[in-house]
């Protein structure tokens, strides 16, 4: 490890690290671009880098990109990456009450802890976790999707009917397109565009960023008004350090979710946000500026970024497009993913681990130093901010696949999102429905084919059975608790 440390501290690797972090922060902050876009763009640049330098550049870019998405999520209610959607709910609430600096401090520190935990998991548990992830098959993924849908039900407590409507709408949107299992074209309305389905990124940009521009247009002045504070950054850091269980728990959960191929940072940040809200002593504070409402998604999404590299490096199984790009980079440099990667000679793996740790440190420093400058955007008058957000929305949607139809989807989603938000329809349920729909349906159909249409498969596999029992316990616990309390009260009387 010491030899790896000295290799990671070579000036060349430090340069790759800093440039990756800087570029990642910028691309992550721009809605619609995201880590896949950036890594695909810069992959060719890594061809001439040494292997360790290439992986250090890519991982520092990836980590900073995922963190960068939270900057615009907090300041403008416009998530830069889909992995920062849940951060909008509480991050923007902080900004509206003039505490943008504090929110950025919370996000930066939580992202740092999440990222470090992911790197530690890769270092200490890489090979066994990679093998364990192979045991997760379609029945387990379906049960995980059910767990996610249960969290939706919990997230819409107090607004259950509207929550059900939104999650149903999100699920319905995910069914549009060519079915992965049966290959049937469903609900295409005669267009070729919808064969790939309703794309998640333009919908997220529309529902959050475009809708936010419409909200800001109704308000003269600036986002945070006169009572803006750009100086609460260290207060935000302390807020995270005062909640070690929350940040470490969500970082661990995010890392585990990242290890599971196919779930990704979209699912990680939402599941952890909704789970933390459900188990919080003050769930009513979520959505109105709760510190935990920023810690949970940010620790989770940065934990899942490195977690997703565990099956990629350990087995050569890419769980996401980003992981696939990492595998491409490894293979271009003559490295083979697998057990050999973890035990390769010439200190390659320790160097990469140290590089990844320094990458977390790099965006921590960039984020904390830059936070008060980023936060100044909330002082820009809305009349100038709205056109900037709109142009970014259009460019972001266009950059996703280069298709103009994505921009139209973005505008329609934005228009709908504005009215949904205004009438208190929970958008978290809509987004979670869109994420979990394909996961639930595809894995259910695969499980049915594996078991020749028998539901027993969900109860015969141990992990699937355990997840099913967890769902039952989660639903049964609140009424049982209520019954127990009323019995206790009656007995005391």
């Amino acid at each position: 490890m010491l030899a790896g440390l000295s290799a990671a501290l070579e000036y060349q690797n430090l340069l790759f690290l800093l440039s990756g972090s800087f570029l990642g922060l910028i691309i992550g902050a721009a809605p619609g671009l995201g880590p896949v876009f950036g890594l695909a763009l810069f992959l060719s640049m890594t061809f001439r880098m040494p292997p360790a330098g290439a992986i250090i550049f890519m991982s520092s870019f990836y980590a900073a990109c995922v963190y960068g998405g939270s900057v615009t999520a907090i300041l403008l209610n416009a998530p830069g990456t889909p992995g920062s959607v849940a951060t909008c709910f509480d991050g923007y609430a902080f900004t509206k009450r003039g505490e943008a600096g504090r929110a950025l401090g919370i996000s930066t520190m939580a992202s740092f802890v999440g990222g470090v935990m992911g790197v530690m998991a890769l270092l200490l548990l890489g090979p066994p976790l990679a093998v364990w992830s192979l045991k997760i098959g379609p029945p387990e993924f379906f049960m995980l999707a059910l767990v996610g849908l249960c969290l939706v039900a919990m997230a819409s407590k107090g607004n259950t009917v509207k929550g059900l409507m939104m999650s149903g709408l999100g699920l319905m949107l995910s069914f549009v397109g060519r079915s992965v299992v049966t290959a049937e074209k469903r609900f295409l309305f005669g267009t070729l565009y919808l064969e790939d389905g309703v794309q998640f990124v333009p919908v997220v940009i529309g529902v959050f960023a475009f809708a936010q521009a419409m909200v800001l247009s109704n308000d003269t002045g600036s986002i945070s008004g006169e009572h803006s504070s750009v100086s609460g950054v260290m207060q935000g850091v302390k807020d995270v350090l005062k909640r070690p269980f929350t940040v470490l728990g969500n970082a661990a959960a995010g890392t585990l979710i990242g290890i599971l191929p196919g779930l990704g940072i979209n699912a990680a940040n939402f599941i952890c946000y909704v789970g933390t809200k459900n188990f919080s002593k003050h769930p009513e504070q979520f959505g109105n500026g709760a510190v935990e409402g920023i810690i949970a998604p940010e620790a989770a999404n940065n934990g899942s970024t490195t977690g997703s590299l565990i099956p990629a490096f350990g087995l050569g199984v890419p769980g996401s497009a980003t992981a696939a790009l990492f595998i491409s980079a490894l293979m271009i440099h003559g490295l083979r993913p697998g057990h050999g990667f973890f035990e390769s000679g010439d200190n390659l793996f320790p160097t990469i681990i140290w590089g990844m740790l320094f990458a977390q440190l790099a965006f921590l420093v960039l984020g904390l130093v830059g936070a008060k400058y980023f936060a100044k955007i909330t002082l820009v008058p809305n009349s100038l901010l709205v056109p900037i957000i709109l142009v970014l929305c259009f460019v972001g949607s266009l950059s996703y696949r280069g298709m103009f139809e994505d921009v139209i989807v973005m505008v329609v989603a934005g228009f709908g999102g504005y009215y949904l938000q205004k009438h208190k329809y929970p958008l978290a349920c809509l987004i979670l429905g869109m994420i979990l729909g394909p996961l639930a349906e595809d894995n259910f159909c695969r499980s049915m084919r594996m078991s020749r249409y028998s539901l027993k498969i969900f109860f015969e596999r141990p992990i699937s059975l355990v997840l099913f029992i967890c769902i039952i316990i989660a639903f049964a616990t609140p009424p049982l608790r209520k019954w127990w309390k009323s019995r206790k009260a009656a007995a005391q009387q």
Partner: protein, 153 residues
């Protein structure tokens, strides 16, 4: 005695519920032609969502009949976001023909004026500068296919 003010039954809430309900009915009916595995989830989910829509519609109608306090009219706010939407649609329509640069400069000049900003110098400088920065960064550095339109680049 003054006549009681009639409260509209068709509120925006109810309109949203109706739109979602129509989508549910369409999906349920259209899914009949698919094979079992292809129609199972769409029909189950659209069915459950339709039930939720019916429940929400009942809640909305009851609320409006029970005489919920009338909301204050938004005045200028109501118009602003609709103007933004209209300008955005116009931007979408003209961009393929005029190109990203010209369309974006027009957008960044028009919107501040709609929103009441009368400092024309700042509007022009910010609009032109930002458009060019976005163009250079996204088209030249990130290779995003922004339409050129009538300009040669």
């Amino acid at each position: 005695m003054e006549a009681e003010e009639k409260k509209p039954v068709l509120t925006v809430d109810l309109a949203i519920t109706l739109v979602v309900a129509v989508a549910c009915v369409y999906m349920f009916v259209a899914a009949r032609e698919f094979r079992l595995l292809g129609r199972l989830f769409p029909q189950v989910i659209s069915g459950v969502t339709l039930l939720a829509c019916i429940a929400q519609a009942v809640i909305s109608i009851r609320k409006s009949r029970a005489g919920a306090p009338a909301k204050k009219r938004e005045g200028p706010a109501l118009h602003n976001h609709l103007y933004i939407c209209a300008v955005s649609i116009a931007y979408l329509v003209i961009m393929p023909y005029l190109g990203f640069v010209i369309a974006s400069i027009a957008l960044t000049l028009v919107i501040p004026l709609i929103l009441g900003n009368r400092n024309k110098t700042v509007i022009c400088i910010v609009g032109v500068a930002l458009t060019l920065i976005f163009y250079i960064v996204f088209k030249r550095f990130f290779y995003v296919p922004l339409p050129a339109g009538i300009l040669p680049f």
